[in-house]
Every structure is written in C-alpha cells, then in structure tokens.
Symmetry: C2
Subunit: 374 residues, 2 copies
C-alpha cells in the first residue's frame, strides 16, 4: 500500500507541475495578445490619428496591470483608474489655483502643494488597511497629481492633457481586463478554494506519514524530509492566502462563487489549519526525539496508534473533500462520533501511552473546533 500511495503522491505532484506550467504558458500568451491589441493604437493609422502619442499610456497600463489572476488584474486596474481620476482632478484644481496666484507665487504654491500631497499621501499609504487593498491606487494618485500639477505650469491646456491621458488609460484598462476575464480566465477564487481543500490532504498525509515513519524500522526511513516539507508549506501559507482572498474580493460573480461570498471564512479555516500544522510538526519532532530514547516493542499499542492516526487522517480528508465539492461534511453523523470514539479510546490508554497521543488529542480537539467553523 505504501508504494502505491507514494506513487499516487508523486503523480499528483507531477500533474500539479504540468498544470502550473500550463497556467504560466497561457498567462504569457494572454499578455502577448493584450500587448498586440493595445499596440494597434500605434500600428493602425486610423486609431493613431484619434489618440496620438497618448497611446503610450494605454501600453503602459496594460503592462502594469496585467497579473496572473483575474482578480489581481481587476484590482490593480480599478486602483489605477481611481488613482488617476482623483489625482488628475485634484491636480487640475491646484494647477488652476496656482495660476490664479500668478508670477513667482505660482511656482511656490505648486512646490508647497507637491510636498504636502506627496508626504501626506505617502503617510496614508502606510496604514495597514490602505496598504492591503489600495497601495497601488495611492501610488498612482501621487504620480498623476504631480504630473498634472507640474504640467500646469508649462502647458495651457491642463484639462485636455488630463482628459486625453485618462482616456488612453481607460482604453488600456479595457483591453487588459477583457483579455484577462474572457480568454481562459484564471480565477483567484478557484485557486483559494482548491488550495484550502488540498491543505487538508497535505496534513492528513503528514499525520499518516509521520506515524508510519515512527513505526518503521531504522533501515526503512527515508522520506521524513518530504513529510514535513508539506506541513511547513501549510504553516507558511498565511500571506499567500491573504493576498488570494484579497484578490478574490475584486472578482465579479462567476461559477459557484457569489458576489458576497464569505472569503474571510477561508482565512479563518487557514488559521486553524496552520495551528494544526504547528501541532503536527511538533508531534513529528517529539516522535523523532523519542525514537532516540527507546525502541518500539508494544504491538497492541502500535496498532491502536496507527488506528488513531488513520481515523484522524480520514477525517481530515473527508472535510477537505467536502470543502472541495462544496457539500456539507458528514460531520454530524460520521466524523464527530468517530473522533469522539478516538478520544475516548485515547483517554483509556492515556496512563500507559506516549505523548504522541497527547498531541493527537490536541489535534482532535482542534479538529472539533474546525468542525464548528465549516
């Protein structure tokens, strides 16, 4: 059974690799297509006569906003749009005020405005809640504001400049968004959903793997490293989850994900999973350190432990699958009683057992916690 399961694991890994590579290739081709489309503004005379050199801004917009996931592209595009509009609007206003002052005062007013808005917006940008979702928008605000205010001193038609640039940015935005959303879209939502579900499987594999490892004879142990690497990647997944959830919030209604889908729930499931991963990791190092102390001999206890490990792994997989397929887990009628049974079994053994059961006990109680959240 062990070689089969490890073969399946390897196959899954290589499938995932090809899948990832496909994603990269598709993304690259999409970027190429959008660049080509937006370059038509320069290449075709009819279009160039309409927009002129401002087509540059459209190209820049496409290059800058195009990200792997649709949600990220949309978020960056909207940030860029809003930042440009606000920055351009305020920039025009202050350019007019400075022109009213006239003379040398003009330059002084502009210099002061630049300093105040630059420093102020940078300060706001560093607040965690702004930084999380609107960092790029504030940067574009500073940029546009500055460009519009300083061109006000040289060009007479500030309004026209601002309008033309805005229009070409909107064009770039439309091209980028259309390609991102309509040509093989890659949704952050799907990614977050699958990665959450697959974390359950990773943990289940690790729990089983490290118990198997523990009961193996010394000659057999080889892939302990691989076991924990899976677990560690779950442990370090917080920032990735957060950015995925953040992008997912920008995505429009699609597939089975509604508009006000509870993305934050994934984050709290992720938190619980990370705690679980910490416990599994600790269990693993306890097992490794106690292996040095003594050799295993107690057959019935071994079977009991393996049974417990198997039911915990089964429960984890069951919850993971139920999330993947978006059905209610069999919690009420199967998983919870099973875990309770495991717990009772452990309590009866607790006098004579190793601390790995204690760790399992903590896992079990965390899992119960998890049940209530799903």
């Amino acid at each position: 059974l062990v070689p089969v399961s490890s073969y399946l694991r390897d196959k899954k890994n290589s499938d995932q690799n090809t899948n990832n590579n496909n994603k990269k290739v598709i993304h690259s081709i999409k970027v190429g297509i959008s660049l080509l489309l937006v370059s038509l503004l320069y290449l075709l005379d009819a279009l160039y006569n309409q927009v002129g050199d401002n087509a540059m801004w459209a190209i820049m917009t496409v290059v800058v906003i195009f990200e792997l996931y649709a949600g990220a592209t949309l978020g960056k595009g909207l940030n860029r749009g809003i930042g440009t509009i606000l920055g351009g609007g305020l920039g025009c206003l202050f350019a007019f005020i400075a022109q009213e002052v006239g003379g040398v005062g003009n330059s002084i007013v502009i210099a002061i405005t630049i300093f105040i808005f630059g420093a102020g917006a940078t300060y706001i940008r560093q607040a965690p809640s702004i930084k999380k979702r609107y960092d790029y928008g504030v940067m574009i605000f500073i940029l546009t504001f500055n460009l519009v205010v300083v061109s006000g001193i040289r060009a007479d038609q500030v309004l026209k400049i601002a309008r033309d640039r805005l229009l070409s940015i909107v064009m770039g935005f439309l091209v980028g968004i259309s390609v991102s959303l309509f040509v093989f879209p890659m949704w952050t939502s799907d990614e977050l959903h699958h990665s959450t579900a697959s974390k359950f499987h990773d943990l289940a594999n690790t729990v089983q793997g490290c118990l198997e490892e523990y009961f193996k004879s010394d000659s057999e142990k080889k892939n302990a490293q691989r076991n924990t690497s899976c677990c560690k990647s779950v442990l370090n997944s917080k920032p990735k989850d957060e950015s995925l959830a953040n992008f997912a919030k920008w995505e429009p209604w699609h597939g089975r994900f509604g508009y006000s889908y509870p993305w934050d729930m994934y984050l709290s499931i992720g938190d619980v999973l990370r705690e679980l991963a910490a416990i599994v990791l600790a269990l693993n190092s306890c097992l490794q350190s106690s292996r040095q102390a003594k050799e295993w001999g107690n057959e019935p206890l071994k079977e009991a432990c393996e049974g417990i490990g198997a039911s915990i792994a089964w429960s984890l997989r069951e919850v993971g699958d139920s999330i993947e397929q978006r059905r209610k887990p069999k919690a009420e009628n199967e998983i919870l009683p099973k875990l309770k049974e495991v717990r009772a079994e452990m309590s009866s053994m607790i006098a004579e057992t190793e601390n790995n059961e204690k760790g399992d006990l903590a896992i079990a109680s965390l899992l119960v916690l998890l049940m209530t959240e799903v």
Copy 2:
C-alpha cells in the same frame, strides 16, 4: 515580578509603536523632499530647457522606486535602470530591422516582435528565481521594449527618444537614491538584525508566559491570547524575513554589515525559530487541553517545571542578546551545560511527568541545534 514584567512588555510595545510611527513620518517627509527636488526640473526654467517634457519620466521614476527601506529603493531603482537599458537597446534594434523591411511588412514585423517578446519575457518573469529579485526589472523591460518599438514606426529619431528617456530616468534614480541613502537612511539590514534578535525574546516570553499561565489558578488567567499572538507572528514571519533578506542584499556596505554579509544565515535561523515557535504553540495547546483534565497539585513538580521553563527562557534571551550585540554567545561555557543539566533533570523525572516536559525536551534539543548554527 509578573506585573513589572508585563509593564515592561507594554512599555516596549508602546515604544515600538512610537518608533514605527516616527519611521512612517520620516519616510513621508523624505518622499515629499524627493518629489520637490525632481519637480524642480519642471519648475526652474534653466533645467526645463535642458530636459523638456522628458522630466515626466524622472518624476515617475521617483514615485515608483521610493520605498521605505534603502535596500528596496536601490533594488527597484537598479531593476528599473537595467530593464530600461535592455528594453531600450533591443527595442531600437528591432525598430531598425523593421524599418529595413519597410512598407506593410514593417508593421507586421513589429507586431510579431511585440507578441514574442511580451509573451517570452512574461514567461521568464514567472520563474521563481527571477520573480524573487528581478520581477520589476522584467516588467520595465517589457514596457520599454514596447514603447520604443512602436514609437519607431511614428518617430524618425528612435535613438534620441530612447536616450532622452534614459537620461531623465537616471536623474530620477539619482534623486531618489540620494535622498533614500543620505537623509536618515532606513536600512533593511538593521531591521532584519533586530527582528531576528527580538524573535528570541518573543519566544522566551511565550514559553515563560504559558507555563506561568498553566500554574495560575483559574481566576487569574487573562492574557493567554497575548502570549500566543507573539508566537504566531514569529510563525508567520517567513515571507517578511525573505523580502528583508532580499532587500538587504542590495544594500551597500554600511555600519557593521559588510558587503558579503551572510544574510542567508538569518533565514536559516528564522527557519529554526519557526520550528521552535510551532513546538511552543503545540505545547501551549497541550497545556490548555490538559488543564481541563485535571487540577494541578504537585508542588515540587511545579517548581521543577518552572525552573526548566525559566532556564529555557534564559537561554533563548541570552542567544537573542548575543545576536543583537554581535558577540559570541556564552554557548560553550554556560548555555549548553545548563541545557544539558535541564535535560538530565527531565530525564530523571520523565516517568512521573506530564508531556509538557517532553515538549520542552524537544525545545531543548532544537535549541542545541540552534547553538551549532550561530
């Protein structure tokens, strides 16, 4: 003692908050100053006559590259510079080739080049090693290449356009870098150094805190949440550490940090600390779940446990301080014997003890591991 230590902890927190806020204010003022300096290109007639409308690119460069840390600013600036030079150079080359073809073929050659370079560079950009350090540079490469190639079809003086833009980007780069490096510089190196050292203290506090908590009567327990939050932030620190180490590598020689300073060492210390944090967290949940099971009554065992906790916390603090002050830890002659003594003490008690000592044992062995790495 407990109120004093918690007062000190609070004071340290509020100190850190003011400190963080000061940093933000200084950063904002620095951004304001650089924007003002670079806007002089527009505001002063003498300068404007030299650079003309290309001053726009200098402003853009300052806004885009200016980051909180000197290393990040330098890294982004160099990326931007190299991306611009490569993209501009290749862009000019292909613009000339397309001109040689002439007629309708001209546009077709340009369209094909745009697609191939856009898709190819995007594919390369997604490779992890490139993404980590040169993501921004590749984006700027795509951007510049496109702009230069498409302007080749409209403007006769591609070379002049490319040169002027490059010059104004260099100006923006110089302004940004000078302000970032010479006006109250904020070094990533210092940040990484201090955060690594303070993680040791956080873990020591958590170990002590959760043992204190465990031996308290039910009426006293209040700040368990704070204990683990510290530990969880250590657990989630991997991506932050990685980006700090990444920025630190860009920073020039300064203070006590040489040019080929072993930044990767901080990453491996961080890894060990995260494993430790996982164990402490697991220990904490074990303690919480076993509290429900029974009430504590055994005085001598309690003292022994507290003694063990205190020596582990002391060793962690000692290693943290020695890293902070960059002296050799007293490992050989004080910490190691003390930990060995603790270990022996535990082994003698192991028959009658709870699994928290077992957790501590794992901590101790990890700590020994850590010793060998420092």
